[in-house]
């Protein structure tokens, strides 16, 4: 059990690392810009090429990266706590697929092209998927086993994915855009985008933090949580809404970036223990670091082409998932 001093240290170190990541995100790219120029470009717009790149391309991209990283990480923490399943993640529980379906429906069926327009479809899609998964989770008194939940999420992901691909198979052009969107990428996000999704994410973050204590109790079991005075039904709805808002918003902005929601909670819990106030706070810092690092890596690996952020996280996250499955297997009874 980490002491408060140690946790504060982790948080502090995290913030420093985040600053470094932000700087890297602003400086690195097909055109590398030295850090001092970056700082100068941030403070005053002097019309130089470096300044344009930094201000109009990389700053929004970085901001979106921070937003999305924090949102996915927080969403992952909440989902893992709610379902008491170490493998829960917006992707694995099918919630990302729901959000994707919402977004694609908005674009393809209703022709909505602004983020402000289709972000709510994304949230709605995430909500539908979230409700389904929640229903499975609350089926039995003790909650669904991790296996059933994982299966339900996988099947939901497959079914929603099939519908999305079906919608797109007939429309080649949209499919061509979609296949890049679906891996998740920060490229080309505008300042407007970053601003429009912020309220949704903030509400989600606040709801999640408000439920932190309740999530601690829920980890001991519903009956124990009730015995400790928590209103379990309300808690579930509140934190569930948080997960949906966070995931829906993040997916609407950057596409369903894989495995951030899975990996960050495990990493953070290993560093600061299981107290959800700390886990949430530190996850909101570590998540962006991960996303920005993946984004930066994607920029430098195969210049001048970029590897989308989601591809990097998927390549790193897939083996990690297998590792976590092996660990979870030991917990699951034969």
């Amino acid at each position: 059990m980490a002491s408060t001093a140690r946790r504060a240290l982790v948080l502090g170190a995290g913030l420093v690392a985040l600053l470094v990541a932000v700087l890297a995100s602003l400086a690195v790219g097909s055109k590398a810009i030295p850090p001092l120029d970056v700082l100068r470009a941030l403070t005053a717009s002097d019309g130089s090429e470096a300044s344009t790149i930094v201000r109009s391309l990389r700053v929004p991209r970085t901001v979106v990266g921070i937003e999305v990283g924090a949102a996915l990480a927080l969403g992952g923490v909440v989902m893992q706590a709610l379902t008491r399943n170490p493998l829960a993640d917006p992707r694995i529980l099918g919630v990302s697929a729901g959000a994707s379906l919402g977004v694609v429906t908005a674009i393809a069926a209703f022709g909505i092209t602004t983020l402000a327009g289709y972000v709510w479809f994304g949230v709605a899609g995430a909500a539908v998927a979230g409700v389904l998964v929640y229903t499975v989770a609350s089926r039995t008194r003790t909650g669904a086993s991790p296996v059933t939940l994982a299966l339900a999420g996988a099947a939901l992901d497959a079914s929603l994915g099939a519908i999305v691909y079906a919608l797109l198979a007939v429309d080649a052009r949209t499919f061509d855009e979609f296949r890049f969107w679906v891996v998740g990428s920060l490229a080309g996000r505008t300042p407007a985008t970053a601003l429009q999704v912020l309220p949704v994410l903030l509400v989600g973050a606040v709801l999640a933090l408000a439920g932190a204590r309740g999530l601690d109790a829920l980890a001991l079991g519903e009956d124990v949580a009730r015995g400790l005075g928590h209103r379990v039904g309300r808690l579930r709805v509140g934190t569930g809404a948080a997960a949906v808002l966070l995931t829906g918003g993040a997916v609407a902005v950057a596409g369903p970036i894989a495995f951030v929601g899975l990996a960050v909670p495990h990493l953070v819990r290993a560093l600061v223990g299981a107290d959800h106030r700390w886990v949430l706070a530190v996850s909101a810092v570590i998540g962006p670091i991960l996303v920005l690092a993946a984004d930066v890596a994607g920029r430098v690996v195969t210049p001048p082409a970029e590897v989308p952020t989601g591809v990097v996280t998927a390549l790193v996250g897939a083996p990690l998932l297998i590792l976590l499955v092996r660990r979870a297997q030991r917990v699951v009874a034969a």
Partner: protein
Amino acid sequence: MSARSAAKRSPAAANEGVAVSARSAAKRSPAAANDGLAVGADPEPIATLPGHLVGRAGPVSVLVHRRALLVAAALGAVLAAAVVASLSFGEVTVAPGAVVRVLVTGGTEYDLIVRELRLPRTLLAVVAGTAFGLAGALVQSVSRNPLASPDVIGITQGAGLAATVALAGGAAAALVAPSALAGGLLAAAAVFALGSRHGLAAQRFVLAGVGVSFALRALIEIVLVSADAIDAQRAQIWLIGSLNGRGWTESAGVGVVLVAALPALAWAARALRTTALDDDTARGLGARPAARRLGLGAVGAVLAAAATAQVGAVDFVALVAPQVARRLAGTERPPLVGAALAGAALVVLADLAGRRLLAPVQLPAGVLTAAIGGPYLVYLLVKGRRS
């Protein structure tokens, strides 16, 4: 002392006493077993199991679940009707009577349409659906979970990844199916390897499958991103699963595997009787549970990979068909024959609907199965696992 033991003896004890000596005698001479046990106390024994039919000829006997038999017959009829419908409907509607005549005797004006155009595709739907249904029944029994299916435990994704790589890499069309088969089998091997500690226990095996499946899906998306637009589109169509433009060769591809698997399926029908029991009880009955699970899972994996390789990832048939058969038959695990027939009927009908529903626009069969399977999955999730 004797009063105490007498007080404890139940009135039936006298009968028990007779049964004891009869039993011990029976142990020495198995041939006398029937006679020995029949002496004295036993009431008229139940000649059959309630709900089952027994066929006996000398030492050979066969036990069949009555309702499962009826369901199989009904599903067979549904399949026959679906096949006839599939052969009848199209740009040119051929009356069912004419269809039958073409199949049986031939020599009508519809020969070309029915025999050359529609029959190959319909036959493919039947064999692929059979393979999917069987694979699903096997995987669900081994996993002891109605939500499990080759689609979600990695086999379909493995085949999909291999096919996507082949298509995106511009490989010859003839190479796609074998690559997909290899990919599916490799993925299955990986899942077995991951889940094999502690003897392939059901939950661990499923968990491993989910993990592999997600990892593979991420990789598929990566490949789709790196390919050029046209190759990516082709790969995507393959991934949804379609019977368009496929026929005799693909049917043969699946058919050969089905026929080769028949002995294994006959074994599976008996081996499945112990999969729902826990390992200790199964061992107490003389079975080897881990070996059985491995064998059954392997047969399921091969069938699923073979079918996916030929028609693409027609999702949900392997999930839905066994469960439909099981609910209709009222058995505790999906009946193999019922699942096969239900799977075949499902794919035939899905393909037919895809062809005709929005004609002249052709929807791939995989879209229809997802459209049926998705809501059914929701229903399964909401209703819970109790049947």
